[in-house]
Symmetry: C2
Subunit: 160 residues, 2 copies
């Protein structure tokens, strides 16, 4: 595999480091703490965690690793802002979904041959991919790792 | 170069995307706005920008691209918390340093042969690198991109 697989391994290591960090930040909160806003009038920690779960869930079809586990999270955590929906998944439901989704991604990452990482992701057509080969699966991994970091930076502000 | 250089290009694209985002967030603020806290009692935007500048400046020697341009930023923005130092660089000084440091990094990235990205970074000894080859320059690029995203997530909370 030469260095090619090595780059993928480094990308996955960075991803795993941020997942571990998220586990530590969100996993140890009480059911009151998870309802704290990260700043006055801003998103609650529960919303951020659900949002991250939904975005990671959508990576499954995007990377051709399988179907979504929790498409119903989008209404609560992606297409609508926090505090706009009367009924959103509970802390326990988000925790279970977060763990299930990231475990499914991990399994998929382990199965994926190195060379597949530079293949197109499923949201880009073959035609568009022929014009811009950077719209591939590795780019999704990097951008979702940054997306996770971005919201973790916010989440820590909601911890006391 | 096969796909190896392609992975580096994807890593650099992700870096540049976050740098552009930072330019937009910090670059257009007034001299009052830059002094806003991201949340009550938390870091001011100026501190975050100076902090990112100092951390990027330290990447120059870390990636063997040259000496630091602004080592004096560390006292103001790294080794001490915000609002603890009487005299810190001004908005204009931070802006100039931010631009200079990132331009210098860009030049260095352009000069660096693809294969150098998997070489050790300067903060790890040859002995330790022999034990863990993942402590290389590409890993630094990914981790600093995530660091930037992390603080940008906080910075947007300080915008109105």
């Amino acid at each position: 595999m030469g260095n090619e697989g090595f780059y993928v391994a480094l990308g996955l290591k960075a991803w795993n480091a941020q997942i571990d960090r998220a586990d530590k930040i969100f996993g140890g909160l009480s059911s009151e703490e998870i309802l704290r806003e990260v700043a006055p009038g801003r998103n609650r920690l529960l919303y951020l965690w659900g949002h991250l779960t939904a975005v990671h869930d959508a990576m499954l079809p995007l990377l051709s690793l399988g179907g979504r586990l929790h498409p119903e999270f989008d209404v609560a955590f992606v297409s609508n802002p926090d505090k706009s929906q009367a009924d959103i998944p509970s802390y326990e439901q988000v925790r279970r979904a977060w763990n299930a989704v990231n475990a499914e991604l991990r399994k998929g990452f382990e199965r994926m041959p190195w060379s597949d990482w530079v293949q197109r992701h499923s949201a880009v057509s073959e035609e568009d991919f022929a014009k811009d080969a950077s719209r591939n699966r590795f780019a999704i991994l990097l951008s979702r790792t940054n997306h996770l970091s971005y919201h973790l930076g916010q989440a820590v502000l909601g911890l006391k």
